[in-house]
Amino acid sequence: MQRVTNERVLVQIGLLIVAVALFASTFGQQFSSADLAQSPMFFPRVILILWMGLGLIALLQSIRSDERTTKIDSWPRMAVVLVAALIYTNVVASEGFFLPSVGFAIVCLLAFGIRRPWLLILFALLVPGALVVLFNHTLGMPLPTSRFTYLF
């Protein structure tokens, strides 16, 4: 039972379900041509069939094997960095480049064990600030700006 519920097997099942769902979605859509070569779904279907076949083999191998996933030594640090990175990539476009970058840098540095406040603040301000000066004001290739000012 443990073999069936380990992370490796669950990920393989997830990949297989995604492939089956995508394959099912290729039917029932209307396209201007249904010819073999001209059909927009011809190539993706071939690839999805191969994906499903290989996914099934990989799943069976995972069930049969005793192999385990790599151990995560620090769940909290990994979770903080992962969530911070996802929030950061989500808010850059709406909140501008500078402010989210400063926030992300502080959170990420804290998660990686940097505790000196002056080092934290210096790095968090200097790196995004230098990039804003370089791209927005020197190269004329503006990064997204915040809702408060057009300067950064």
Partner: protein
């Protein structure tokens, strides 16, 4: 054209010429080394500055940036496992493992020498074989290109470290991702599920940087504090000694040839050349067994081929007026903006300009050696900063780079998503290189397959009956796919 060479060389050796050659190469290396900027963006950044310059220096500046950026991509690929450009993604496969075992300087040395030789040979080829190569390019229709791409796809097997099945599965996921968005023949939308931001598909670089760089940051964040402080040690480029080249020259020559030929073919590009050359190197090199584990031949295969593409790609651009990829399309636009009409009469009408371009291209590749070594040395202190700062800076630079590719915030979400998926898949032992290979080669594979089926009225066997080049390439692909599988089945390591 050769009679115009003295005048061309006097243009290149003038103050303006030398300045343009040196500054262009430096800018190219720096921009190429920044993850996400890439050759196309680097050339596009410089393009407006060329409008006030005269014809020859303007084109040479862009060429210097182009050649420099292709080399620069390998610096970030080797030192921080983040390909600066898609064409250096194959360099990560052996460059980073070498860096991890303390040979970052040597890895960069191999990359530098292979890049310089690849670029120099392609410059010579460009000078002497441009008309013949242009004629060869015309022999390659969709069916021949399909077979060539199929051969390139076989490198998925060779880069699938650990499990061939998982590698092939990752490759299929990569090819599938490349089908999202507009259909290449009819333009109809596929797998967008009503989301207009998917109409242009997934951005390749966003996925590449997500699965390589961002997932690496997550992996390092999940490691113990004691290992978190480990970074690659690097004190500057170490050039490989002569005796280290023993048994590798053939692989280098083959990679350069592959780069030149693929560069000439429209619609393929340096990333394709790098992966096809890598697959061939893995198959034929006497050190093939070490590919993916930090084998210098892997770096040589990738770097020699992607730099050799730069000269080859100029052949159809200038001789036929057909750009091979996005970068040569920008170059073509620059030629047109300067009142030059590319095409068969280009050499006849502008002998001095063409001689200056070809000779300039040769000098640029010579400059790559000292400038590459110098600029890599500048990068050394940056890499000695604590990992916490490095990881934070990588994420911030990735965001900047991806934003500049298309200025599309959706690409940032794709990068974030690819980072998480890459992290999860790497934890389960999935190699990430096949996913990238699938995404790089997938669009050409689909387009040429469907074009070929239209040409043969839907008959796939007809691909190989009336097309000898396709038949040879197809057989090579089957052999390249089956031999490692049979070998690993015998050893019982297919899983």
């Amino acid at each position: 054209m050769l009679s115009a060479l003295p005048e061309a060389i006097s243009i290149l050796l003038s103050l303006e010429g030398l300045l343009v050659l040196t500054l262009g190469t430096i800018l190219g290396i720096v921009l190429g080394a920044m993850p996400g900027i890439g050759s196309t963006v680097a050339v596009a950044i410089i393009l407006p500055f060329t409008l006030t310059m005269s014809q020859a220096p303007a084109i040479i500046l862009l060429l210097a940036v182009y050649a420099g950026s292709v080399y620069g991509g390998s610096i970030a690929a080797i030192l921080i496992n983040t390909p600066g450009t898609p064409q250096s993604a194959a360099t990560c496969l052996d460059g980073y493992p070498m860096a991890q075992r303390g040979e970052a300087g040597l890895a960069l040395g191999w990359a530098t020498v292979a890049s310089v030789i690849g670029g120099l040979v392609s410059a010579v080829v460009l000078i002497f074989a441009a008309p013949q190569l242009a004629a060869l390019a015309l022999e390659f229709g969709p069916i021949e290109t399909f077979s060539l791409i199929l051969l390139g796809m076989t490198c998925i097997v060779s880069v699938s470290t650990g499990s061939v099945v998982k590698g092939l599965l990752a490759g299929m996921i990569g090819i599938f991702l490349s089908t999202v968005g507009g259909d290449p023949i009819l333009g109809e939308m596929r797998f967008t599920f009503g989301n207009w931001q998917l109409f242009a598909g997934f951005n390749l670089l966003a996925v590449v940087i997500g699965v390589f760089a961002l997932s690496e940051v997550f992996i390092r964040a999940s490691n113990q504090i004691s290992t978190v402080s480990e970074l690659v040690s690097f004190n500057g480029v170490v050039l490989p000694r002569m005796k280290m080249w023993k048994g590798r020259v053939r692989n280098l020559a083959k990679s350069v040839a592959i780069g030149n030929v693929i560069g000439v073919l429209p619609g393929t590009g340096a990333a394709t050349a790098a992966f096809i050359s890598y697959a061939e190197g893995r198959r034929s090199s006497r050190n093939g067994g070490g590919f993916g584990k930090g084998e210098p031949d892997g770096i040589v295969s990738s770097e020699a081929a992607n730099n050799a593409v730069t000269g080859g790609a100029l052949v159809p651009t200038m001789a036929l007026g057909i750009p091979g990829d996005a970068i040569t399309a920008v170059m073509l636009a620059t030629l047109t903006l300067h009142g030059i009409t590319p095409g068969p009469k280009l050499v006849e009408d502008n002998p001095t300009l063409i001689a200056a371009i070809f000779a300039g291209f040769f000098i640029i590749n010579l400059l790559l050696l000292p400038l590459g070594m110098l600029l890599s040395r500048v990068a050394a202190p940056i890499l000695r900063i604590r990992e916490a700062f490095m990881m934070t800076a990588i994420v911030i630079l990735c965001v900047v780079g991806i934003y500049f590719v298309r200025g599309n915030p959706f690409d940032l979400l794709v990068m974030g998503g690819a980072g998480v998926v890459g992290f999860l898949m790497r934890r389960q032992g999935f190699p990430m290189a096949p996913l990238v290979i699938g995404m790089v080669l997938g669009p050409t594979l689909e387009l040429t397959l469907r074009q070929g089926l239209i040409l043969t009225d839907g008959s796939f066997p007809a691909f190989f009956t009336g097309h000898p080049i396709a038949l040879v390439l197809g057989l090579a692909a089957v052999a390249a796919l089956l031999l490692p599988l049979v070998r690993s089945m015998r050893k019982g390591t297919v899983g």
